[in-house]
């Protein structure tokens, strides 16, 4: 399957030529397929924010390429701008970008910039408001009168309204209560399912990414040491912890069990998986004993 978005040997230097010069990305090869739900994890300063800002052309690579649909996004000015509508990026704490008088106007900012006609803009605003669970009655309110969670959903709707084929979200649940966080993740899943969109979730909550994404990409010091399905990535529990990334609680429990000599698999990260693994291990240890009884 072809990649919808891909980076080749991406390098990025910040403040080049000053004493503050530092390299944020060192030859990153990253790729995502259509309809994939993947998560980028890495601690603060690992380069994950730099990487996602390259994916929709907000940052220009120092060297290397970013391809969208197999074509360089920097090939022309029009191309870069067009890609920004195809690759939606929701920044951290997006509620601080709201600026319009009404929620409706704010959500319509992106579609209007795309040059769509009024009817289409209206359809998109209402649809994206529904996607994030905003009541129609809220559309005429000022975004500054809403609660924190509602503001965040307005901001996400503002990006979804452009109907991007790739939706990138930088810590969309940061600072929300568990119910608010769960709802936002549910909204993202809905968008993923109904539009067959590629979702890239940036987070440092291992439990969250393990639950949501089908593939994890670990970023550390500007490169990607591990990438794969959660179970595979979490077999590197010790290395992940050395990078300052906490692994899910269950993974930690199973790593300890293994180091104590228990016959259990690595790469366990949810409670149901843990239950099955322990039951399987118990059956294995009982089986020979039962065999003896029979003899």
């Amino acid at each position: 399957m072809p990649f919808i978005i891909e980076t080749r040997q991406l390098h990025h230097l910040y403040s080049a030529g000053t004493p503050f010069e530092h390299s944020a990305l060192n030859g990153v090869d990253f790729s995502a397929q259509t309809g994939e739900y993947l998560a980028i994890i890495g601690r603060t300063g690992s380069g994950k924010s730099t990487l996602i800002q390259h994916l929709n052309g907000l940052l220009k690579p120092t060297s290397g390429q970013v391809l969208f649909d197999g074509e360089d996004i920097w090939s022309s000015k029009e191309r870069t701008r067009a890609v920004r509508f195809q690759v939606g990026l929701v920044f951290q704490y997006p509620e601080y970008q709201l600026f319009e008088e009404t929620v409706y106007k704010d959500i319509s900012f992106g579609p209007k910039n795309m040059g769509l006609d009024e009817g289409e803009v209206d359809r998109r605003v209402r649809q994206s408001a529904r996607f994030v669970g905003l009541d129609e009655a809220l559309l005429d309110k000022s975004p500054f009168d809403l609660s924190g969670g509602q503001k965040r959903r307005v901001a996400i709707a503002g990006v979804i309204a452009m109907e991007p084929r790739v939706l990138i979200l930088d810590e969309p649940t940061a600072g929300l209560d568990p119910a608010g966080a769960a709802q936002i993740l549910e909204n993202i899943r809905t968008y993923h399912r109904e539009k067959n969109a590629t979702i890239i979730l940036v987070s440092h909550s291992m439990e969250e990414v393990a639950r949501e994404a089908s593939r994890l990409v670990v970023i550390h010091q500007g490169s990607i040491p591990y990438s794969g399905v959660p179970a595979d990535v979490f077999t590197h529990g010790r290395e992940l912890e050395e990078m300052g990334l906490g692994v899910p609680a269950m993974t930690r429990v199973f790593a300890r069990l293994r180091s104590m000599g228990a016959d259990v698999p690595g790469g366990v990260y949810t409670i149901p998986q843990a239950r099955d693994a322990i039951l399987a291990a118990l059956n294995r240890s009982k089986a020979p004993a039962r065999g003896k009884e029979l003899m």
Partner: protein, 268 residues
């Protein structure tokens, strides 16, 4: 150009002898040096001023490239000054074009004027590059403290300055972030005529103002929580103390100033 690359008034941490000088000493020396620059007449005095500045730059370990980069915003001012001086100084005619007359004296004057402005800016940058903003306002507060006698709000002014300096990078970062976010939604800040460009700033300015007010509010609360009640009776963790090196630095600046003044006045 990313907004982060603006170097104006930026501090480059370091441990050179210039970095370690007392901020008051640096401030006084800068003022004295600027006086010297304005006293200078003729190439010999400029040469002295230049050599002194070059020596301080060398000791400070600030890269000359960083200093040059800071000159960019004043380039227009320099060109403008130079042209004005070249054409509007009376004297022997160099060449004539329509209503403009370029004179020998004009060219010489323009040359020295540009050099003077360049050295003035370099010296000022050197101060901000080698002195942390906090140390700088501390120094200013000390130097201005005699004005307290005439009820001049020195402490308040210094506090306003240090808060402003503290928040410049934060606000620049915030601007950068909001700009990126709005660009991600297709905002275009670079093309269009003046009216379109001004309109394009609304999605940037509204969130920026809101966040600035929010920050100000939070900061005020945080300061009150720590019992801030103005400058009276406030002590400092880092006391400013003059050391021999500071006295030497000020004396050296004075010596340069006197030398330049005398030479300029009496000739060689």
């Amino acid at each position: 150009m990313a907004l982060k690359d603006i170097t104006l008034g930026q501090f480059f941490p370091g441990s050179s002898p210039i970095h370690r000088l007392d901020p008051r000493a640096k401030l006084i020396a800068l003022i004295v040096y600027i006086v010297a620059l304005f006293l200078a007449v003729g190439w010999q005095t400029y040469l002295i001023a230049f050599l002194v500045l070059a020596a301080v730059v060398a000791v400070s370990t600030v890269k000359p490239r960083a200093l040059l980069k800071g000159m960019k915003p004043v380039l227009f001012l320099l060109v403008f000054t130079a042209i004005l001086n070249m054409f509007y100084t009376p004297g022997r005619e160099l060449f004539h074009f329509w209503i403009f007359t370029m004179t020998y004296e004009g060219v010489a004057r323009a040359f020295f004027m540009v050099i003077r402005i360049l050295m003035l800016i370099t010296a000022t940058f050197l101060l901000t590059y080698t002195t942390s903003p906090l140390a700088l306002t501390d120094g200013l507060e000390h130097l201005l403290s005699p004005l307290k006698k005439i009820r001049f709000p020195v402490h308040e002014l210094a506090m306003i300055m240090s808060i402003a300096l503290r928040f410049i990078p934060t606000l620049i970062e915030e601007t950068d972030k909001i700009m990126s976010a709005q660009r991600a939604r297709g905002a275009d800040f670079d093309t269009g005529n003046l009216v379109q460009k001004a309109k394009a700033l609304i999605p940037l300015l509204v969130p920026l103002f809101i966040s600035a007010f929010r920050r100000a509010d939070e900061l005020a609360t945080a300061m009150e929580c720590r019992c801030y009640h103005g400058g009276e009776g406030r002590t400092r963790m880092k006391q400013l103390r003059y050391r021999p090196a500071d006295a030497l630095f000020i004396l050296a600046a004075l010596a340069v100033c006197v030398a330049v003044g005398v030479l300029a006045h009496f000739g060689w």
